[in-house]
Amino acid sequence: MGAGLVTVLGFLVRRLAQAALVSFAVVTVTFVLLHLAPGEPLATFAESPYASPEVVAQMRRNFGLDQPLLVQYGRYLANITRGDWGMSFAQHRPVLAAFRDTVGNTAVLALAALLLDFGLGIAAGVMQASRPRSVTDRILSGISLVFYSVPVFWLGLMLLLLLGEALHWFPVGGVVDPVLYPSLSPAAQLVDRLRHLALPALTLALVGAGATARYQRAALLDAMRQEFVRTAKARGLSERAVVWRHGLRNALLPTITLVGLSLPALLSGVVLVETVFSWPGMGRLTVSAITQRDYPVVMGAALLAAFSVVLANAAADIAYRFADPRTREAR
């Protein structure tokens, strides 16, 4: 057990080091982009109507813009690590402070969307793979294709139109009811929040589930082709036991990795969906920052999104490692 613990720790350290390396590369790439842009960095932002001269001057000092490139890079790295991501021009406060208000909302939306996405996608994939080439399979494949091909913001609008404005089943925007919320009981408040969360999360989930279903179907079909499935049948196990206990247990392993891989697309969708549903999260903040030419916020949001992806992928790899008994104790 002692030796096992060491190898496990070794793996964890290696995986997290890899995550750190990619994060470092991401920061470097943003720095390079900042300096590749035409004109002096921050020149266009100095023109921004929101950028006061003091803020611009402070950023110049902080990021050492009059120093040689390598020094600038060093200071940039140091600042990012320290948590000094610059000042938002529009909000006149540190970028990270601006994020604190909005990150929570985006996190809730993303998490809800992920749960729905994988819930729907796995269910569909299993239904399809247990009866390959049947009518159910073909219909679900078609539906997956359609949802996979739909622009997420348009789907949001259509859902908003049908379920929100036409049928009034769900509210059409925001996180909570602006007028009634404070006077509701805690239970009713939760319901209100869920009702507001439903449409944006569903929009993101439907688009993601199209891809997830396809993936899960392929993984399960693959697992069912393995020898041990035939052996399980030979023992007299029911069809259901064979599919769920033997096929799916194996086919869910690659799905763990898929969680990490779907995150970038999900976060991209979040920006659009937050705009459609007026959801006060990082996405909507970034879009308004663009129109306000509040570059530090835009860059900070990209960095934060990238770090989330890197972290999620590391977490998924670590989870996979522990979920698959074959790799659990391996080096």
């Binding site: 041990f228 052996t231 023992r235 007299g236 196990l237 029911s238 069809e239």
Partner: protein
């Protein structure tokens, strides 16, 4: 004579392939009595594995198709052409199967013990705890050391021999009356092979099970078989009690196999390869006697008409013109 446990009549299996329909098993009839061990011997391509799979309804249909005239009678009831529910009543409970490669046949993400226990629970009503205890007992019965510990381990943590023992335990968990073993030692090291053979022989004695042993290893046949059925090109070439086969086999193919087996040392596959030529493809069986292209003692009639399976002596049948009388012409047959 009591009725046989398993009775196959005219079992025929066709496969749909790119090159046409292949008849992998051609009208095979054989019996397995209660408690008897029958060895099904042949090269790869003889149809023996297809036959074994058909006994539990495990052939993928399509592309395989069991011909409607086939009868697979277990305790008198015909299983052929049945639906999934009727097969499930038999699988694991009446007939168990041990497959060739235990590393592929065990689910890698479930513990070995849980795979044994699930069979116990499928075929008898007992609690989870009872099933786990029974699983450990079964593992002990097949000679797995520290059965309680091993039950909690995964397939990749066990050696080849232990895996095969686990597979046998799983096959026995439903307390079947017939055990079908498809090349149970082929994927194992030579030293481990001997242990598994010992185990199978002992289990047979102890549990009184009938065994259908599909193999090309004559060592295994010698140690365990009561009767031997030799298959070639989808048909039964010869069928006799084991001592008869070893002392006086009638069919040239069987004689060739025995010669190759007794001959040099080395793996069973190498011994079998000592018969010149290769088995014919199932889409193009030779005309007349299917073995004649490779037979050293073939004569005119062998190329003209296909021989039928005929009685040579008590309990001994062979499909060869060397032992049966062709209607009409008697001249030209070598003495």
């Amino acid at each position: 004579m009591s009725a046989p446990l398993l009775s196959l009549r005219h079992l025929t299996v066709d496969y749909a392939t790119d090159r046409g329909t292949a008849r992998a098993v051609d009208s095979v009839s054989l019996d397995v009595a209660s408690g008897e061990t029958v060895a099904l011997v042949g090269e790869s391509g003889s149809g023996k594995t297809t036959l074994a799979l058909s006994l539990l309804g495990l052939l993928p249909e399509p592309p395989a198709r069991v011909a409607p005239e086939s009868r697979i009678e277990y305790q008198g009831a015909n299983l052929a052409g049945g639906d999934n529910a009727s097969w499930r009543r038999v699988r694991g409970r009446e007939m168990g199967m041990v497959f060739q490669d235990p590393s592929l046949s065990l689910n890698p993400v479930l513990t070995v013990g849980s795979q044994v226990a699930e069979v116990v629970r499928t075929h008898s009503k007992c609690t989870r705890r009872e099933a786990t205890t029974r699983a450990a007992e079964l593992l002990a019965m097949v000679g797995v050391d520290s059965p309680a510990l091993r039950a909690r381990q995964y397939a990749h943590q066990l050696s080849g021999g232990l895996r095969q023992r686990a597979m046998i335990a799983i096959a026995l968990a439903g307390e079947p009356k017939l055990l079908i073993a498809d090349e149970p030692t082929a994927a194992l090291d030579v030293t481990v092979q001997a242990q598994i053979v010992e185990l199978l022989a002992e289990l047979r004695r102890r549990l009184g099970m009938a065994v259908l042993l599909v193999t090309h290893d004559f060592g295994l046949v010698a140690q365990m078989a009561d009767r031997v059925v030799v298959m070639y090109a989808g048909q039964v070439a010869e069928m006799a009690p084991a001592p008869v086969v070893f002392s006086g086999a009638a069919h040239p193919y069987t004689q060739g196999l025995l010669l190759a087996a007794r001959g040099g040392a080395g793996s069973a596959e190498r011994r079998l390869a000592a018969i010149p030529g290769a088995p014919p493809a199932a889409t193009a069986w030779p005309s007349a006697c299917r073995f004649h292209p490779r037979c050293a003692r073939a004569w005119n009639h062998c190329r003209a008409e296909a021989p039928q399976l005929e009685r040579v002596s008590e309990g001994h049948d062979a499909r060869c013109w060397l032992v049966s009388e062709p209607a009409g012409e008697t001249g030209g047959r070598p003495s």
